[in-house]
């Protein structure tokens, strides 16, 4: 199995996520773009560990070639960290919504200058 389509996919996800973060004003859309970029980076790391012809690294029988287990461990940690960040972001969005009644961010205001 070729890994090139996955590399393209992860580069695409990272770019789409970046575009979303740099241009969306709706708080929920910002958080979703952050999540998309997170998925893209994790996908890149897991893809790199693939060995053509390898199976999952579980040793209940000798299969010859195994896939690289280290990126999978890294991504396990990174996904959980992404979930925590998303949880905190959602809480702040909920507070914003309860205060103002809308999901758009305030433009400027007290901040900026």
């Amino acid at each position: 199995m070729e890994i090139t389509p996955f590399l393209i996919l992860s580069a695409g996800l990272i770019s789409i996520g970046l575009y979303g973060i740099m241009s969306k004003k709706n708080l929920l859309k910002l958080l979703i773009s952050l999540d998309i970029m997170d998925v893209g980076v994790n996908l890149l790391i897991v893809t790199v560990g693939y060995l053509p012809g390898g199976t999952a690294p579980i040793m209940d029988g000798d299969y010859g070639k195994y896939v690289d287990p280290l990126p999978q461990a890294l991504v396990l940690t990174a996904i959980v960290i992404g979930v925590s960040v998303l949880a905190l972001g959602m809480i702040l969005t909920i507070r914003h919504y309860r205060r103002t009644g809308s999901l758009e961010m305030d433009e400027g205001g007290v901040f900026g200058w």
């Binding site: 040793m59 287990p69 280290l70 960290i81 949880a87 909920i94």
Partner: protein, 245 residues
């Protein structure tokens, strides 16, 4: 204006990343000689790389069949402790950020539970919890481990919150479970420190690989992590819903 500029930037970054990754020297084998620069420098024998070491020696050094588990808990266990801490920080943050704001004027739509939803969830919930527990207890034998197991358990609780609008999690008990399981993880590691070994070193017998009671401290740690993640995620979702009245 902002959209155009950011779209242009994102497109440029995509093209650049794509070009770089296509030509990147991704090795097709971890026994690739690129990984073995140490031989000339340190003059030692054994031509192997880091992933090679995990795959070849992992089972005999740690006693668990699942190599990813042995990496996550033993070889790189400190990262797992950090990750558990991140989740704990987020849960604590959620707890105090929402605790002072009640939904003023937002009427709690206390309708009757939907018949299909409540029956379905009532049937499926025990199995969900069972599958979750199975996943984290067998972390050293099958794929999975503490984190997916805990997430499945939390899914069970979230389904309960959705199907039964009047169901509420007891915040106090959940936070006690959460804190104790986190403490259990850290204390298991500290015991090894006090015993004169380094932090998070395996001090229980390794047993026969492939059986349930093997792999030293791995099943204990994964059980602690499973409880912790399950309770934390459920607590986060329950806080978002509105918490205890």
């Amino acid at each position: 204006m902002r959209r155009a500029v950011s779209a242009l930037l994102a497109l440029l970054i995509f093209a650049y990343l794509f070009g770089v990754l296509l030509k990147a020297p991704i090795p097709g084998d971890y026994r690739d000689e690129r990984y073995n620069y140490y031989s000339p420098l340190s003059g030692r024998e054994a031509n192997e790389s880091v992933p090679d070491h995990y795959v070849e020696r992992g089972e005999e050094e740690t006693g668990s069949q699942n190599i990813v588990t042995s990496i996550v808990v033993l070889y790189r266990g400190f990262d797992t402790l950090g990750e558990v801490t991140v989740l704990f920080t987020a849960a604590t943050g959620v707890a105090f950020l929402l605790s002072t704001q009640r939904s003023k004027g937002e009427k709690e739509k206390k309708k009757e539970p939907n018949f299909m939803a409540s029956t379905g969830v009532g049937l499926v919930l025990p199995f969900i919890l069972l599958v979750g527990a199975y996943i984290f207890v067998h972390g050293h034998l099958t794929p999975g481990g503490g984190f997916p197991g805990g997430a499945v358990i939390a899914t069970g609780f979230v389904l309960m919150l959705v199907a039964y609008p009047r169901f509420q999690l007891r915040e106090k008990k959940v936070s006690v479970v959460e804190a104790f399981s986190g403490l259990a993880f850290a204390v298991i590691g500290l015991i090894s420190l006090i015993m004169g070994l380094t932090f998070l070193e395996n001090y229980l017998p390794k047993g026969v690989a492939g059986t349930l009671l093997s792999a030293g401290i791995i099943p204990l740690i994964y059980i602690a992590i499973g409880f912790k993640v399950g309770s934390e995620l459920s607590a986060i979702v329950s806080h978002m819903k509105g918490g205890e009245e």
